[in-house]
Structure formats: structure tokens, C-alpha cells
């Protein structure tokens, strides 16, 4: 079940969802909470596109420590960040979002319809914000369209959070992976699994 505007507000008031800074009235849509873009834009270095550069990555052996230095900041000019057609940019939401473990709420981050028509994608994949999540949401912006899109750091509302109820306290992974086991690792030999 998706929470509507006043249910989202109630969840925030009850502490079932923490949004910092607190959203203003204009950020509430009928069934979503709009989030603003932060001010720390990064992009992969242009040099990575150079001919002959070996940019292959083994997804089963990713070392973030080696990858992170390959990004560089995106310039803010007169308070505006311009994302040209074809640009891929990383940024986080201004708002910190937190779902306490027992809140029975989770969310999906999505783009906004107006931006979509312009070919402007603000989130590529893995939209789920799980119970226990705490932090700012990373947006993977890709401008597929023909227009250069201008964003105002800490102001532009570019994504929406769709908040849903989760049935039960989220222990699903524990109980599926380790169901019937005495420990998360398995059942010691000779012992009966705990029910």
C-alpha cells in the first residue's frame, strides 16, 4: 500500500520515517514526497573515455577504493549545474532519509514525469530504500534527451520517494536464507533446527 500525502506526514511525525531537513509543504505530492538534489555533483573522468584505455571491470571483484578516485567534481556556475545531452552525473539528495528497522515502511526512489519527457533520467536502477536504510540517496543522472538541463543545487526537486507499507517486521532475508537453522550459518551437526 502506497502512503498518500497526509499518511507520509503522519509517518514523519511518528518517527517511522525521518527526513532531514524536514520537507516543506510543496514537496508533498498526492502519493509521493519530492526530494531535492544536493550540491556535490560528481562524474567519471573524461580520460576514461580515451581510446586505448582499459576500462573493463570484473563485477565479481569490484574494489571501490580503486574506482572512487576516477571521479571528478562537476562545476557549479552561478549557482547552476548544467547537464549536457549524454552526460552521466552522480549526486545525492539534499535530504537524509532514514527508515527505522521496525517502521514497517520502505520506499522507492523514482524520477519525475516532467523530467522524463525531456529524456532526463535521475535514477538508473535498484530504487528500493530498505528498512534500516539511513543516509542521503544517490542519484544516477543520465541525460538521454536533446536539451542541456540546468539544476539548482539544494533547490531543484528532481526525484520522488514513494513510500509503502511492508507487511511484517523486515527479517525476510534472515528467515529465507537461514530458515530452520539454529544460527544464521546453519545447524550444527547433530542438532535439531530451531523452529
Amino acid at each position: 500500500m502506497i502512503l498518500c500525502d497526509y499518511k507520509i506526514k503522519e509517518a514523519i511525525e511518528k518517527g517511522e520515517l525521518v527526513v532531514t531537513p524536514a520537507p516543506v509543504a510543496s514537496q508533498y505530492d498526492s502519493t509521493a514526497l519530492n526530494l531535492r538534489v544536493g550540491d556535490d555533483f560528481r562524474k567519471w573522468r573524461e580520460a576514461l573515455k580515451a581510446p586505448g584505455f582499459d576500462g573493463s571491470i570484473d563485477l565479481d571483484h569490484v574494489h571501490l577504493s580503486e574506482l572512487l578516485p576516477l571521479t571528478e567534481p562537476v562545476e557549479v556556475v552561478n549557482g547552476i549545474v548544467t547537464i549536457a545531452p549524454g552526460d552521466f552525473v552522480l549526486v545525492r539528495s539534499l535530504e537524509r532519509v532514514s527508515f527505522p528497522l521496525k517502521s514497517k515502511l520502505a520506499a522507492r526512489v523514482e524520477g519525475r514525469s516532467t523530467l522524463a519527457r525531456l529524456g532526463f533520467s535521475v535514477h538508473i536502477t535498484a530504487p528500493t530504500i530498505h528498512a534500516g536504510f539511513d543516509g542521503r540517496i544517490t542519484l544516477e543522472i543520465l541525460n538521454h534527451g536533446p536539451f542541456a538541463i540546468k539544476l539548482r543545487p539544494n533547490q531543484s526537486e528532481i526525484c520522488q520517494l514513494i513510500i509503502e507499507c511492508v507487511k511484517g517486521i523486515p527479517k525476510r532475508q534472515v528467515q529465507t536464507r537461514f530458515l530452520g537453522q539454529s544460527t544464521p550459518l546453519g545447524t550444527p551437526k547433530g542438532k535439531t533446527p530451531r523452529k
Binding site: V62, L64, S65, Q173, T183, P184
Partner: protein, 115 residues
């Protein structure tokens, strides 16, 4: 044997849903106010072995001793949610998904640290 005072002691005090800390090492993240965290998890398929978990988290979630630099990690403690404790092992919920474990990781119960 006396346990260190900052350990999360056993039965009766390890309640699911509360925050605890796990030891980690820390480097700068991608964004300002973000850190790259490395923590050791128990490999559920081979309990005697550990998995190195990498995740990017907001800096306020990590208690760091010193100033981390790229390639020169410092020691720290990562705040996690306690999901389940049984048989000397704990399943904790990471504040952001980690590589390669996702939202959860398993650690030894005696590796949990209090605030």
C-alpha cells in the same frame, strides 16, 4: 574472563531493532561527508572464513579515529541495525547496501560493539 566494557553483552541485551557498532576500516568516499567502509563479515557458507564487505555510507554513521585518506584507511566503528542474534552470530542491517552482501551481513556476536 572480563569482557571489554564496550562490547554488546550477550543474552537479554542484544535486542533486534537497536543500533550497534561493528569494527571497520575507513577511507574517503565519493562525495563529501561520505566514507568508504570496509568491514569483515562471516561467510555463511563457510563460517571459518570472512568476507570483506565494502560500502559507501554517510560520515555520521561512522565513528572514525583519525583522518582517512585514499589508500591509507583508519580504524572506525560503523553503526548498523541489529536484526537477529542466535547461536553466537548476529545478522545486522547495513545502513546502505554493501558489496557483496547487500542489505545484511552476518558477524560474530562478540564482534558487536556498543556505542
Amino acid at each position: 574472563m572480563t569482557k571489554p566494557r564496550n562490547r554488546v553483552n550477550g543474552r537479554g541485551q542484544s535486542k533486534a531493532g537497536r543500533f550497534v557498532y561493528v569494527h571497520c576500516s575507513v577511507e574517503p568516499g565519493m562525495f563529501k561527508d561520505e566514507l568508504l567502509v570496509f568491514a569483515d563479515a562471516v561467510d555463511p557458507s563457510s563460517p571459518d572464513e570472512s568476507i570483506e564487505v565494502q560500502l559507501l555510507v554517510d560520515a555520521f554513521l561512522v565513528k572514525v579515529s583519525g583522518t582517512p585518506e585514499r589508500g591509507r584507511p583508519v580504524e572506525g566503528r560503523l553503526r548498523v541495525g541489529l536484526a537477529d542474534v542466535r547461536g553466537g552470530y548476529a545478522t545486522v542491517v547495513l545502513p546502505q547496501p554493501g558489496i557483496p552482501v547487500g542489505e545484511f551481513m552476518v558477524v560474530r556476536e562478540n564482534a558487536l560493539l556498543a556505542d
